[in-house]
Symmetry: C2
Subunit: 365 residues, 2 copies
């Protein structure tokens, strides 16, 4: 057994290697025009993904990403023992219907835009705990289905304040596996040493090394057009807890990458951590700011949605790890726990965030 | 490590003991008038739980159950490392706001009325995998918040077809822990050997021994007033998978207890299993049929909702295990993956169910 898997107050360490076996990022037109375009596997310029309506479009996008990541892992859906998936829609509409097309035991999860953090953590725990050799984490969001759920009819063309973010049309899927699954899939995988320039019997893998489960954090912010401010305290709290639990500083990470705090939220996040004595600016990134060119694309405060951090991770972030630009990152998807009902009733918007450690690993086999 | 924690095609076995340390069932007026009244910890005849509106009422009910189960376990909220919770409302409104009042790392889960199955499985995996010494699983539903979300305004007084179920106003919470946590909490716990009639250094515990993760199963049923028919195929499929994975028959269980199939669904469930060669009738129960007196209480096909199976488990079912009336049960919460949007758009209603093994254990310490 060796080292404990339970670390400090609210963290976990994965003591067996939990490998990223496959990954897929499937996005819509706007994301395909953004700075990360070359990192996405599929860009659908119609935003429809063959669906009959916007939630059906999101289901199909999610299902495409889930199936593609499995294929890129060199596996078949039946080899995946558990699928952890979630989205923003009421009753996980997109994931439930998307998962219905896949023959994989299904566990629905919800943490608003932090859902990829939760699903990755649970999918990793299932592998590291010995409950499954292979699992998958998938989340999605769709601009049009989110507007329908939370805001105004698209045709109304409502004005958006500058603090508002733009819901990403995208889905990210990650297949995880233990050493046995890695060895089984190695010959067929896309992210193999051969593809990534390894030589002979040496290659590069990315592992999920641990993480920190966040608490619901409510600073009383009620502005649903400023979700960055709602989520920043939760992100700062989970990063602080993480650094304490692992006895690390921000400098131990090449990047600390929040989900979708956006232009407003990242400043609050850095300020809050600064007050605790942690200087995060030198390594700080935000998926919501990476995925769009906010000036050219008029997205105001950046991207958001379960698909924002998920597609950025499955595309750009993991690419940087495989290439060796980064060796260790802290991935911190952030969520605003907002429902149309709670917002209309004037409730505050609590935030949540989870932190996941991803590491590059030189492998000899 | 010993025995594998991964069993057959889609099951898990918990090889360390995952103990039930505390449990609480908090319900509303109608449930308090039903046949299980003596097994509930708190009955609020106002159905309000001090809340300002129905979703707030549900949040407070959930929070009350979560806190009470921790207290009954002889623990404090800070000793719980992970809270797995979910409810029926869009964006897990009740759980998110309820969890915001508890200082526990939060993982939101959604599987419609099967959510207690999912949260128990994940909370058990976290303990058995060594990621946490103590976790908690909580789910809730509220008749009035569910009617608001899915059906008609209460004042409209809509007619209900006979196949319809009645959403339970209730929340069930279970605190789980490993051997260390059990020993730490033993002196303060309510469900100790002393309370339950054990003598000297011998007592009775209940453990979560394993489970089977279900798949989304869609037979194309579209009638949201007949959710039993939507869920029965998923329940039959997961029970069949469970029995195959563990090489067991229904007779290996004192009871196989579905969540909320209701009067219509239980017949379909038994028929489907019968076609596969499994005779489930002699051990079959359904929380939806246990919780109300359908004739006296005019609940038609029975109770439903995340809180139905959860409060029945935390109250009646666990009591029977502690008392020794049963030694091993299979708890199979069932969910209809229905959203107001999907239902109004004419989609089918897929079902999901998970199976959890609970065993009575004679302990000597």
């Amino acid at each position: 057994m060796g080292e404990s898997k339970s670390v400090g107050a609210q963290s976990v360490r994965f003591t067996e290697d939990v490998y990223v076996l496959g990954r897929a990022a499937v996005v819509g037109s706007k994301e395909g025009e953004g700075p990360l375009r070359s990192f996405f596997d599929i860009i659908d310029d119609t935003d429809r993904f063959g669906g009959e309506n916007w939630n059906d479009a999101e289901s199909r996008m999610m299902q495409t990403a889930a199936a593609l990541a499995i294929k890129k892992a060199g596996l078949t859906p039946k080899q995946i023992r558990m699928l952890f998936a979630g989205d923003l829609l009421g009753q996980l509409l997109a994931s439930s219907f998307g998962a219905g097309e896949l023959p994989i035991p299904f566990l629905g999860v919800y943490g608003a835009c932090s859902t990829m953090g939760e699903s990755l953590l649970l999918a990793s725990m299932a592998v590291d705990g010995g409950f499954a050799d292979c699992t998958e984490a998938v989340t999605s969001s769709h601009f049009a289905s989110a507007e329908k759920e939370f805001r105004f009819p698209l045709a109304y063309g409502n004005q958006r304040p500058l603090a508002a973010t733009w819901t990403v049309t995208g889905s990210g899927a990650i297949v995880l596996g233990n050493k046995t699954a890695l060895e089984r899939s190695r010959a067929q995988r896309e992210d193999t040493a051969a593809v990534r320039g390894g030589t002979g019997k040496q290659g590069v893998e990315v592992v999920v090394a641990g993480g920190t489960v966040g608490r619901v954090t409510d600073y009383g912010v009620k502005d649903k057009a400023n979700m960055g401010a709602c989520m920043a305290p939760a992100a700062a709290a989970v990063v602080e807890a993480h650094l304490k639990d692992f006895h690390r500083t921000p400098a131990d990470y090449d990047k600390i990458i929040t989900g979708d705090l956006g232009a407003v939220g990242v400043k609050i996040f850095a300020d809050l951590l600064g007050q605790k004595g942690y200087r995060v600016e030198p390594v700080q990134e935000d998926c919501g700011l990476l995925i769009y060119d906010n000036e050219l694309q008029d997205t105001h405060s950046g991207g958001s949605g379960c698909g924002c951090s998920a597609s950025t991770l499955a595309g750009y972030l993991l690419d940087q790890l495989y290439k060796g630009d980064w060796n260790r990152i802290l991935f911190v998807p952030t969520g605003a726990l907002l429902s149309p009902v709670s917002a209309n009733e004037g409730s505050s918007i609590p935030g949540i965030a989870h932190a996941i450690v991803l590491e590059r690993k030189q492998e000899v086999w």
